[in-house]
Each structure stands twice: as structure tokens, then as C-alpha cells.
């Protein structure tokens, strides 16, 4: 029993955080809002140079052969800066799905991903609007029991604007079908990883909203002192900190379950997504409150992270979907509940 991350994992997290915090600033994000695609090949190139695109790609396909657990702390950092690139989507959702598919499609696309030459995204029925489909070199799209592998030539995209200007969502219509699997387990595996990706980013978003708010309330004065010194403001923030603190371990356990193919993956992921997104939603609610009217403005950066948090909570399965999954498990006759059943013995 060892629930800690390795030195390497923590060091890599640090270096990635340093890069992202310096490169993917709120200013940079606002700039991208004014571009057509809202994405940056230059940034994607930098992420690739850092080895991030290839991190989860098997070594035989030119990647680093790491797994979901190795990537989870990085996904948190991507959430912390609200990274406007499908990196988590590609590395944590698409790559494991391609691995599961194997064969030609994997052999063709995994090396491109590792080389930073391809963004790959996934669209499922729980997620009919596909994020970043417009910049995707490959779209893995569920239709009924079929999973298609489609390039831009095979599809027609219909843009759907999100409240989060950084999120680019598209309805995808198939012009040329290309079924690569009818294996429900592969589709379910993709959904788990999509939900896991949102959970990890939600942790980062919550932390970012806390940091922004602690700084703002320490500097903003009313009644002759920093508003952060008022107990009501402190307790708003403390309540977020408590929720966040207890959402981390469930996300890390879910990543472990994905990396090790545990039979409890589905329930572990649903647990992780529910508590992580709750923490991020509470952060949004309390942080805008302690910002006062400033939090309601476009110019203050808070809403960049708040709107993403709202969106992540409802994509890759909303709260109802994941609660139902949990309920199916805990209300079953053979449910293993209570002390000593948290880890598979």
C-alpha cells in the first residue's frame, strides 16, 4: 500500500506547471478568444516538445509509454491554467482508446500524436458535441454501437458556442463512415477517461480560483481593512479548501484504477468526477461572491476558470449520470460497503 506519487512524477508536474503558468496566461487565453480557431499550433508544438503529447503513447509507437496515473497530475496543471488545447483530451482519452483499438488505426495515429503532428479527440453519446473537432486530425466518434475513426474529410462540423469562450464545441455529421470497432468496452473505457480528465482538470480549476480569490481579497480593502480579513470571507474560502482537499485522493485513485485496469474503474471515476466537480462548482460560487461586483465582470480573470468549471461538471456524463452509476453499485445486494472494502484486497 503506497498512495504517494514518485519523485519523478512530482518533478515532472513541477516543470509542466512552470511552463504552463508562464506560457498560458489569462492574457494569452484572451488573445486566443479573438482568433478563428481559438487554438495555437505554436503552443501545441511547445507541449509536444515537452513530451506531453507522447507521454501516454506506447514506446513502440514513439511515445514515453506512460499511463493515466503518470498523466493525472499534469491534467490538474492543465486545469489550473485552463489550457485551451486538447492535450488532456488527446493524451488521457484518445490515446488509451487508440491503444485499446490497436491495429492499423493505432499504428497510424499514435506515432503522429507522439510526434506532435496530430490532435485526436473523442465524441460519445454522453458528449455528443465534440470539443475541438475543428482542429482534430482524427475524430473517434460513437454512433450507436459503432465507433468511427474520421478525418476532417469524412465529416461536416456544426459549431455550437459555449458560455466558455475557450471551449469550441461541434456537432459532427458523418459523410464517410469508417467503423473501427463495435466493442462497447472500448467506448465505455473512453467515457471513463473523459470523466477522469474532467475530474483532474476540475481540481486544478478549483485551486486556481482559490489562489485568485485569496490574492484579491488580501489586496481589496473595505471598511478600512482587507476584505480577506473578514471571517465570512475566510469561511467561504475555507469551505472550498475543505471540499478540494478531500476530492484529490479520489481522483488519484481513479487514475490508478484506469492505469491498472481495475474492475472498480467505473465507480471510482464516477466518484472522482462527482466530488472534484462539486469542489470546482463550490469554488466558482464562493469565489465570485468574495470578489463582489468585480467577479461579475469580463475583465477580471475569474470567469475564465469559473465558466470552464461549470462546463466540465456537465460534460463526459453529468452529475445524474455518475450518481446513477454510483447508486447502481452501492444499492446492489452484493455491494461491498463499509470499512476495509475501499481497496481491492
Amino acid at each position: 500500500m503506497d498512495f504517494t506519487f514518485s519523485e519523478d512524477q512530482l518533478l515532472f508536474q513541477e516543470s509542466v506547471r512552470d511552463f504552463l503558468v508562464n506560457e498560458v496566461t489569462p492574457e494569452k487565453i484572451r488573445e486566443l478568444w479573438d482568433t478563428d480557431s481559438g487554438r495555437s499550433d505554436e503552443l501545441w508544438g511547445q507541449l509536444s516538445e515537452l513530451g506531453l503529447t507522447g507521454l501516454t503513447v506506447p514506446e513502440e509507437h514513439g511515445g514515453l509509454g506512460m499511463n493515466e496515473l503518470d498523466f493525472i497530475l499534469l491534467a490538474q496543471e492543465c486545469g489550473y491554467v485552463a489550457l485551451p488545447e486538447p492535450l488532456v483530451h488527446t493524451a488521457l482519452v484518445a490515446v488509451p482508446t487508440l491503444n485499446a483499438l490497436g491495429g492499423e488505426v493505432a499504428a497510424e495515429w499514435l506515432p503522429k500524436i507522439a510526434a506532435g503532428e496530430a490532435r485526436v479527440v473523442v465524441g460519445l453519446e454522453q458528449n455528443q458535441l465534440v470539443e475541438d473537432a475543428h482542429v482534430a486530425d482524427l475524430i473517434l466518434l460513437q454512433q450507436g454501437s459503432d465507433l468511427h475513426a474520421l478525418t476532417q474529410g469524412d465529416v461536416e462540423l456544426r459549431h455550437n458556442e459555449s458560455v466558455d469562450p475557450s471551449r469550441k464545441l461541434f456537432a459532427v455529421e458523418i459523410k464517410n463512415a469508417n467503423v473501427v470497432s463495435i466493442d462497447a468496452a472500448i467506448i465505455d473505457g473512453a467515457l471513463q477517461r473523459g470523466a477522469l480528465a474532467n475530474a483532474a482538470q476540475a481540481l486544478g480549476l478549483a485551486q486556481r480560483m482559490i489562489d485568485i480569490s485569496v490574492q484579491y481579497t488580501s489586496e481589496r480593502n473595505q471598511f478600512g481593512k482587507p476584505i480577506g480579513s473578514f471571517q465570512a470571507v475566510k469561511h467561504h474560502m475555507a469551505n472550498v479548501a475543505v471540499q478540494l482537499e478531500y476530492a484529490k485522493a479520489p481522483v488519484h485513485r481513479a487514475a490508478y484504477a484506469a492505469a491498472n485496469g481495475l474492475s472498480t474503474l467505473a465507480q471510482n471515476v464516477s466518484h472522482a468526477k462527482l466530488v472534484a466537480c462539486d469542489a470546482a462548482n463550490l469554488a466558482a460560487k464562493n469565489c465570485i461572491q468574495v470578489h463582489g461586483a468585480m467577479g461579475y465582470t469580463w475583465e477580471v480573470d475569474l470567469h475564465i476558470f469559473m465558466k470552464k468549471a461549470w462546463a466540465l461538471a456537465n460534460s463526459w456524463g453529468d452529475a445524474g449520470y455518475h450518481k446513477a452509476r454510483v447508486a447502481d453499485v452501492i444499492f446492489a445486494d452484493d455491494a461491498l460497503l463499509g470499512a476495509g472494502n475501499t481497496f481491492l484486497n
Partner: protein, 387 residues
């Protein structure tokens, strides 16, 4: 106690209902935080005024109907049922208007109220300043009396409607030596005065719902002072009083949201019931909206029969703002993956205006005195806890 409407009240409701049915635009107007939408809403105010429905609580000689609070509540119920447009001049009609009647000179009333009524002049409020938000007594913008004009310098912010409005009202420090609540004067300022710069502030939805107003040696005739010099705080408190608040936050608004929430839930019941918290929230929404309506009627009746309203009015702000936020949060949960879509998105079927409402509901617990300030007031003034 008699909880039936009188025949007069029923007749009044019928009259309102039929006029609205005949006159409310079939197509919803654009947001009044856009230039075109602002004009559309200005025109609607003119139409309301023609039918004498613009300010039903105003005296008849001013184009009103001298309605009491119960009639006002009935009017609002019908107004929200009819999905009639938002009131672009509410700062004028509901906040400044009644205050003018109380503190204004006859000259001021004659000069200002008619144009406010016939929508010629739309009003913005200028309460807050960058360092005077929750702490409104920290106002620093100065007004110096030189001859028969005030020379104003300083800055206001969070000034709703100011981008396209014609006038604004607010408090300015006329005694440079004064501190806190003293030495403030209530002044009305034409927004086209030389020396005024209005900087729009885009809000969460990207539209300029409020603005900053910069004053650089702006000269305003002393005729535009409301109440005496240095008496601004008293005038402002009257302006922010409970009846005014009631004007702005009539229960009908929240009851209609609750009704739409019940509909949304029923339309999506199968998926919604996967999350038991949703059904709980929908039931609560209905109960709380009803509680808000019942409590408002009880308070209105007490006021009608000469009663006074005390610090418990601070409970009002907290109750409706949290109710509004909870109802919209529940709608977001029901909409699930669709919740984040803008209404015009091609695949946004059934999302209606919930997202806009959700964004707007975020401001409820903040503006007009944060809910934290309201809780302090309740604890100290209503419950008598130590400061």
C-alpha cells in the same frame, strides 16, 4: 385576515391582463444592454406610458394610477405572466421617482418626472465608487459649490444602464472635511455634460450592463440637488428603502421562474431523476417562491394598513437572491451537457434563456449590498447581537 381578492382587485387584474395581451410585443426584445435593444425598451416604456401602465404606483396627475402595494403586486404578476419586457428605466421610475416625490421641489418634479415617465430621459444610478462598494459611506467623489453650479470631480462605478442612459443620480462629497455618512449630497447629473466620460464595463455575458462614470470638472446646476446640501445619506437611504426594493424584486419574477423550472423538470424527468438532488431542488423552488410571495403579501398588507417595516427587510435580499441562484442551478443540472450552450447555438434545443438567467443570478447575492453585509445587518439590527 381575508385572503381573497376584492372585486376591484380582480377587475384591476383583468384590465392589466387584457391590455398586456393586446400590447406586449410578440417577439422578445433584444437585451437592453445592447444599443438597439436599449432603444426597443425605451420605445416600450413609451407605449406603457401611453396606456398609463408605466408607473401604476405614481399619482394620477403624474400619469400613474395611485396603486397601492397589493395592486402593484397584481400588476407585476400579470406583467411577468405576459413575459413583458424588462423595465429599462427602473432606476428612474422605481428608485428616483418616489424619492423625488418625497424630497424634490415642485420645480424639480415638474421638470424631471414627466420626461422620466414618457421615456425621454432614462436614468442610471451612480451609487458605488471603486473604493466604496459594500462600504458606501467611503464615497470620495467631490462636488464643490461655485456660485449656482456644483463642480464635480471623481469616479462612479457599477452604474447600471449608464452606457446609454441620459441622466444619473448619486451621492457626492460636498464637504471636503467630512467623513463617512456626513457631508454627502444627492445630485442629479446629465450624462451629456462636458467633462463626463462613460466607460462601459462588460459583464459575465460580455455585454456592457454597467459602466464607470468619470467626472472631470463637470458643472451641474444647483437646481439638480435633491434634498439639502449634506443630507445626501438620508435621501439615499429612502431611495434604497424596502418599498423600492419590493418594486424591483416582486415575487412574480421568481414564481414564474419556478413554474418554468417545474416544466423543464417534467420535460426531462427521466434524465433529471438520475440525480435525486434535482427533484429536491425543484420542490424547494416551488415552496420558496410561494413563501416569498406569501411573505411579501403579508408585509405589503401590513404597510398598507400603516405598519412599519424594520430590519427584517434585510432578510428579503438574501432570500430572493439565493432562491434565484438555486433555481437556475437546478435548471443547469437538468440541462446537463446542453447547459453551457448559448441560446442561438444550433444544437441548443430546449435550453431557453436558462443560461442568461444563471449568469444574471450570480449577481443577486452581490449587488445592492452583498449578502454578507445583509447578514451583518440582520444579526446586529434585527437580532440585536453585539457589533
Amino acid at each position: 385576515m381575508d385572503l381573497a381578492y376584492t372585486d376591484d382587485q380582480k377587475a384591476f387584474r383583468e384590465e392589466v391582463r387584457s391590455w398586456l395581451a393586446a400590447n406586449v410585443p410578440a417577439e422578445p426584445l433584444q437585451s437592453f444592454d445592447t444599443e438597439e435593444g436599449f432603444q426597443q425598451h425605451r420605445d416600450w416604456e413609451a407605449k406603457l406610458n401611453e396606456g398609463r401602465w408605466g408607473m401604476v404606483t405614481w399619482p394620477e396627475e403624474l400619469g400613474g394610477r395611485a396603486c397601492d402595494l397589493i395592486q402593484w403586486l397584481i400588476f407585476e404578476e400579470e406583467y411577468y405572466r405576459a413575459c413583458a419586457p424588462l423595465r429599462v428605466n427602473q432606476n428612474g421610475i422605481f428608485l428616483l421617482g418616489p424619492t423625488l416625490m418625497e424630497y424634490g421641489t415642485d420645480e424639480q418634479k415638474a421638470r424631471i418626472l414627466p420626461k422620466m415617465a414618457n421615456r425621454e430621459e432614462v436614468w442610471a444610478q451612480g451609487w458605488s465608487e471603486p473604493n466604496a462598494g459594500s462600504d458606501m459611506a467611503a464615497i470620495r467623489s467631490k462636488a464643490e459649490l461655485k456660485g449656482d453650479v456644483y463642480v464635480i470631480n471623481g469616479q462612479k462605478t457599477w452604474s447600471t444602464r449608464a452606457v446609454w442612459a441620459d441622466w444619473c443620480f448619486g451621492m457626492f462629497r460636498t464637504d471636503p472635511e467630512s467623513e463617512r455618512h456626513r457631508g454627502l449630497t444627492f445630485i442629479l447629473v446629465p450624462l451629456d455634460s462636458p467633462g463626463i466620460t462613460v466607460r462601459p464595463i462588460p459583464q459575465l455575458d460580455g455585454l456592457p450592463g454597467f459602466a464607470e462614470i468619470f467626472f472631470d470638472n463637470v458643472e451641474v446646476s444647483v437646481d439638480n440637488r435633491l434634498g439639502g446640501e449634506g443630507e445626501g445619506w438620508a435621501v439615499a437611504m429612502a431611495t434604497a428603502g424596502f418599498e423600492r426594493g419590493l418594486m424591483l424584486r416582486s415575487p412574480a419574477r421568481f414564481q414564474e421562474t419556478a413554474r418554468r423550472l417545474v416544466e423543464l423538470y417534467r420535460e426531462n424527468q427521466t434524465s433529471a431523476d438520475q440525480d435525486p438532488a434535482v427533484k429536491e431542488a425543484v420542490i424547494r423552488a416551488y415552496l420558496d417562491a410561494e413563501s416569498y410571495c406569501l411573505t411579501t403579501y403579508q408585509t405589503a398588507c401590513r404597510i398598507n394598513s400603516g405598519g412599519k417595516i424594520g430590519a427584517e427587510s434585510s432578510t428579503n435580499k438574501i432570500f430572493w437572491s439565493e432562491l434565484d441562484q438555486n433555481m437556475h442551478a437546478a435548471a443547469m443540472s437538468i440541462l446537463g451537457a446542453r447547459a453551457e450552450l448559448l441560446p442561438h447555438a444550433p444544437d441548443a434545443a430546449g435550453v431557453g434563456t436558462w443560461l442568461d438567467g444563471w449568469l444574471f443570478s450570480q449577481s443577486g447575492p452581490i449587488y445592492a449590498g452583498t449578502n454578507e453585509i445583509q447578514r451583518n445587518i440582520i444579526a446586529e439590527r434585527m437580532l440585536g447581537m453585539p457589533r
